[in-house]
Symmetry: C2
Subunit: 164 residues, 2 copies
DNA sequence: GTTGACATGTAACAAGTTACATGATTGA
DNA sequence: TCAATCATGTAACTTGTTACATGTCAAC
């Protein structure tokens, strides 16, 4: 269950409301983990009960801003250093790319062009994020990795298109 | 639900028993989708009921070999070309790499070395697979993509280690 | 004969999605 | 005042995991 450690990590980086966390999952963890608000709110309640997070502010529209506690920060480091990673992945896009060879060549163009459009947009997005980041930002390396991976993917997709 | 189309795809590539499918998920779809036998067997039963797969042979130990039917093949192509891809991903390894910056530099070496070991092994594996593949194999491009991505990841991990 | 891989299945539980529900605030 | 976005929550359902259960076959 990476949900709890993703939430914990996001809150260590920056205190947020549940609503903001849902957005941050979609923006900064897009290519790593997905969580919707219906999962986030109950998880925040559980984490609070366990003393891993606390409410540090209340705003408009009954919103509560949560932050990780010292205990939460320690739990995150423990998880990162001591717990054996679960290597199972779920990525429908990767499944589709793998199965591309099974689509007859004439029908391959459409899905390939769709994937090229998607990946180009992702790449452009990452370039914008990188451009707005100072060199010392602790998360810059993560963006750089995503950037390199997306560039490799886009190249590959274009090669596949040229061959069909 | 990519389970059904992953199963369908694997069976189009090569007829298999449920047991073999479980192994193929772990080998060839490692970085795309995971499924365990307790999910595969009921899914095969459902796919058979719907005429997407059929039993093409029975072997030792009450094993049944399934293959995709024409209907199954058509459904797979329909899914690949017409259905809007679900872009949500779940990848604990990616979450961990993202959160690396939150681990104090002194504690970062251990997880980084573990990830380097893991990624090197994956890369070596992929190189073996590629070496045993003829140039015309329809799935060679997929292996090449995985190879390039793993190379990028390994480079990145080594950079991170050098910086900490 | 016994260990390990092959082979299939179900049940209980946990995690994740979709749909339902409600209300506040902002800006056009 | 109306629509969009902010904001939180729960319920029903689907998907996925872990544990339980059983039996076959080959090699040592």
């Amino acid at each position: 269950m990476s949900l709890r450690h993703s939430v914990l990590g996001l809150l260590v980086i920056q205190p947020s409301t549940g609503y903001e966390l849902a957005q941050r999952f979609d923006r900064t963890l897009r290519n790593a983990w997905h969580a919707s608000h219906s999962q986030i709110y109950p998880e925040l309640a559980k984490l609070q009960e366990e003393g891993m997070v606390e409410v540090v502010g209340e705003g408009a529209r009954r919103s509560r801003t949560y932050a990780a506690t010292e205990r939460g920060r320690q739990e995150l480091v423990r998880w990162m250093t001591e717990e054996e990673p679960v290597r199972t992945q779920r990525n429908e896009t990767a499944v589709r790319w793998f199965l591309l060879a099974l689509v007859p060549p004439q029908a391959r163009r459409a899905p390939l062009e769709r994937e090229i459009a998607y990946t180009s947009a992702e790449l452009a997005d990452l370039e914008d994020i990188e451009a707005g980041m100072s060199a010392e930002q602790p998360f810059r390396p993560t963006v750089e990795l995503a950037l390199r991976m997306n560039a490799v993917m886009l190249d590959w997709l274009k090669e596949q298109l040229n061959r069909s």
